[in-house]
């Protein structure tokens, strides 16, 4: 009988050492791609200052941004988590409908305008966050507000 425990590479490849205690802990977001994509504009709207601050810190970090910008990074994560939490408390059904639609449609936003309209309306009413695409041309209906989506499977009005 072997006296030594068998060791498999697959098990030890991941370093699970926790973060040292002198760095404050933060709960990771843990959301998958579809909910994040669905909530991206609301995260961007509420957390713009934190996001810009973090990216600026990284830019000026001169290669040490990973170590020096931990504080800004925690703010970014907490802010995004607060958005997700608020959407989950107030608009859970619309949010779920939208991101499940995204998951079923290859993350194409143009296939899911109807659930997106419901979600946007709910989020605007309850949280006051509005989806706006920066840089879209003046004098046109923004693409997320057009009922007809040319590239959708059904190109007629979606709502």
């Amino acid at each position: 009988m072997a006296a030594r425990e068998p060791r498999f590479n697959q098990e030890v490849l991941v370093d699970t050492t926790p973060m040292p205690d002198h760095i404050p802990k933060v709960q990771e977001l843990g959301a998958t791609s579809a909910p994040l994509f669905s909530a991206a504009y609301f995260i961007g709207e509420r957390c713009k200052a934190y996001n810009d601050d973090f990216m600026k810190c990284k830019d000026e970090g001169n290669g040490r941004g990973e170590l020096d910008c931990l504080k800004e990074g925690r703010k970014v994560t907490r802010c995004a988590a607060s958005v997700i939490k608020d959407i989950n408390t107030h608009c859970l059904s619309q949010f779920k409908a939208h991101w499940e639609c995204l998951e079923n449609n290859n993350h194409y936003l143009f296939e899911c305008r109807r659930p997106e309209m419901d979600l946007n309306k709910c989020v605007f009413d309850k949280l006051g966050l509005k989806k706006e695409i920066p840089g879209s041309p003046e004098g046109q209906v923004p693409v997320h507000l057009r009922p007809k989506q040319k590239y959708a499977i059904y190109p007629g009005p979606q709502y």
Binding site: L29, L36, C47, Y50, N51, N62, R64, L70, G73, I133
Partner: protein, 114 residues
């Protein structure tokens, strides 16, 4: 022998012109029709391109809003592994070893654990 001469009253007319009835429209009508079809197609194509551009803008901004968030998470993981690596180095070698002659932070691309 007398030379051959034209018949009295001259030769008959030679038929050299087309004698088929013209059918269809005048040529410029076909030309104009083709251009109209092309113009319509180009118009639809341009509209589609504009819509695609707006959709791309929408997707791009969504990703740009998410980038700091994902980057922060990734950075935290990198820093955690960096500290773990340092601690392991001290434990195994007795002191921290500098592998680069610079103060620059270098991402750890490989983590050796044994």
């Amino acid at each position: 022998m007398p030379q051959d001469m034209p018949p009295v009253g001259g030769y008959a007319q030679v038929q050299y012109k087309r004698n088929i009835p013209t059918r269809g429209f005048k040529p410029w009508v076909y030309m104009a029709g083709m251009h109209m079809i092309m113009a319509w197609g180009t118009y639809k194509y341009m509209q589609g391109t504009r819509e695609q551009r707006e959709l791309a803008r929408e997707k791009m901004w969504a990703r740009m809003y998410l980038t700091p968030l994902l980057q922060a998470e990734e950075d935290r993981d990198q820093v955690r592994r960096h500290f773990a690596n340092q601690a392991r180095e001290v434990e195994l070698l007795g002191s921290e070893q500098k592998i680069y002659n610079a103060d620059r932070y270098v991402l750890i691309h490989l983590v050796y654990i044994d």
